[in-house]
């Protein structure tokens, strides 16, 4: 029996900016993530530049994707697109799948996810632990292959499924407009001058950026993007070579910074031992871009989105490179 319709989380529409100490549902724990001060990361920066990372790994599903997933599912319940008897289905590179699996479990709806078969082992296991089912597309086709396979599965029995469709669902950026943006504004007391986020669907940067620009049109919204279609930044999209998500509107950005995979990895490796933060590669990409911005300004408050922690990448190339990096450090 679905538990969604009457729960506090499903009915809630106004975001809260502070995490309550006791909640009705795990869904009430989504959002309200902290900023951590990384200003000292580059000692060469102007002393009037502050650098903060918003740690989205603190969401209960472990990533920023809890937000759009919750908004999309709640909207589905509100409009009747998601009803008892339906299965939540979507294509995902991992974090959205974990978020949907968690939310489906909390609300009592089955979840079916279409993933490229080379997503990290940890992600597959986390999704399984939430009780969701998975179908795998060819890793050679990347996330676009998963998108196409998902469409085919739905086409065989359209009435059976509710597809949040993070790439085209306006609730994806809306989640960030209503939660991530206000949280950053409050946490910086309105002093934020730059938002830097990596792009997967583009939902985070679109929604957060829109909110912040409404509060202060001078705020610069900068995207971190893989520098090449052939990259190792799991979860990020090189837009020019991909199916461009419907929620992504590049003209709203103030700039895009291309990020080399190796440079993003190196920053991830430094964040662990130097700052006590083990994060995923997309956070390294955001930090790379934020440092590029920081070096060009004399004064400002830069907020980066760190999408998740690194513990779900321990079986991936990110981690393999980490041990090589440590050996190099010891040899240096």
């Amino acid at each position: 029996m679905p538990r969604g319709a009457g729960s506090a989380a499903a009915a809630r529409d106004a975001p809260r900016l502070e995490l309550p100490s006791r909640v009705h549902s795990v869904l009430d724990l989504i959002g309200h993530t902290p900023l951590v001060d990384l200003t000292g990361f580059d000692p060469g920066l102007s002393p009037r530049v502050r650098l903060y990372a918003k740690l989205e790994g603190f969401n209960p599903g472990g990533s920023v994707k809890d937000r759009p997933a919750l908004w999309m599912v709640r909207h589905g319940l509100a409009t009747g697109a998601l009803q008892p008897g339906k299965t939540i289905i979507d294509s995902t590179s991992g974090n959205t799948g974990i978020a949907l699996a968690l939310i489906g479990a909390a609300l009592g709806y089955p979840v079916l996810l279409v993933l490229p078969d080379n997503v990290s082992r940890e992600r597959k296991r986390i999704i399984s632990a939430f009780g969701a089912k998975m179908v795998f597309s060819s890793g050679l086709e990347g996330s676009d292959g998963a998108i196409l396979l998902c469409r085919r599965i739905i086409g065989e029995d359209p009435e059976r499924y509710f597809k949040p469709d993070q790439y085209f669902n306006e609730m994806n950026p809306r989640a960030h407009y209503e939660s991530t943006g206000p949280e950053i504004w409050e946490a910086t007391h309105g002093t934020v001058t730059h938002l830097v986020a990596s792009i997967g669907t583009g939902g985070t940067i679109m929604g957060t950026g829109r909110y912040l620009k409404e509060r202060n049109p001078k705020i610069q919204v900068i995207a971190a993007e893989p520098d090449d279609p052939w990259h190792g930044l799991e979860g990020l999209k090189h837009m020019a070579s991909s199916i461009v998500p419907g929620v992504y509107h590049e003209e709203e950005l103030d700039g895009k910074i291309p990020v080399p995979t190796d440079a993003a990895y190196e920053l991830v490796y430094r964040l662990g031992p130097d700052w006590g933060l083990v994060v995923g590669q997309s956070s390294g990409a955001a930090l790379y871009a934020a440092l590029r911005v920081a070096r060009t300004i004399d004064e400002g408050v830069i907020v980066m989105i760190f999408c998740d922690f690194g513990d779900r990448y321990l079986s991936t190339n990110l981690w393999i490179g980490w041990s090589e990096w440590q050996q190099r450090q010891r040899g240096a």
Binding site: T92, P116, G139, L140, G142, P229, K237, N317
Partner: protein
């Protein structure tokens, strides 16, 4: 000695769009060199300046990651399948 090499979407611009190509050689390293001979520019995408496989590139022989075999010295035999697998992109 010929093996089948499966090419991921982002690298198909080197192979004229082909998803699978044939390459000759007794080791994965030889296969990579033969790919470069046929499709100039592709090796630089797979290997760094020192000739090592790039950190974020996955090469599989019949489904096994060459990192856990002999890297570029991994032997291949007639009819084997070598897959070049990218990172996961997008959401």
């Amino acid at each position: 000695m010929s093996v089948h090499v499966r090419i991921p979407t982002p690298l198909r611009r080197f192979t004229g769009g082909a998803e699978e190509v044939a390459a000759a050689g007794g080791t994965v390293g030889h296969i990579v060199n033969d790919l470069e001979r046929q499709f100039p520019g592709i090796k630089e995408r797979l290997c760094d300046d020192d000739g090592k496989v790039r950190r974020f590139v996955n090469l599989y022989v019949n489904g096994d990651d060459i990192r856990f075999l002999n890297n570029l010295d991994t032997d291949v035999k007639d009819g084997d399948e070598v897959s070049i697998v990218p990172a996961i992109a997008g959401g």
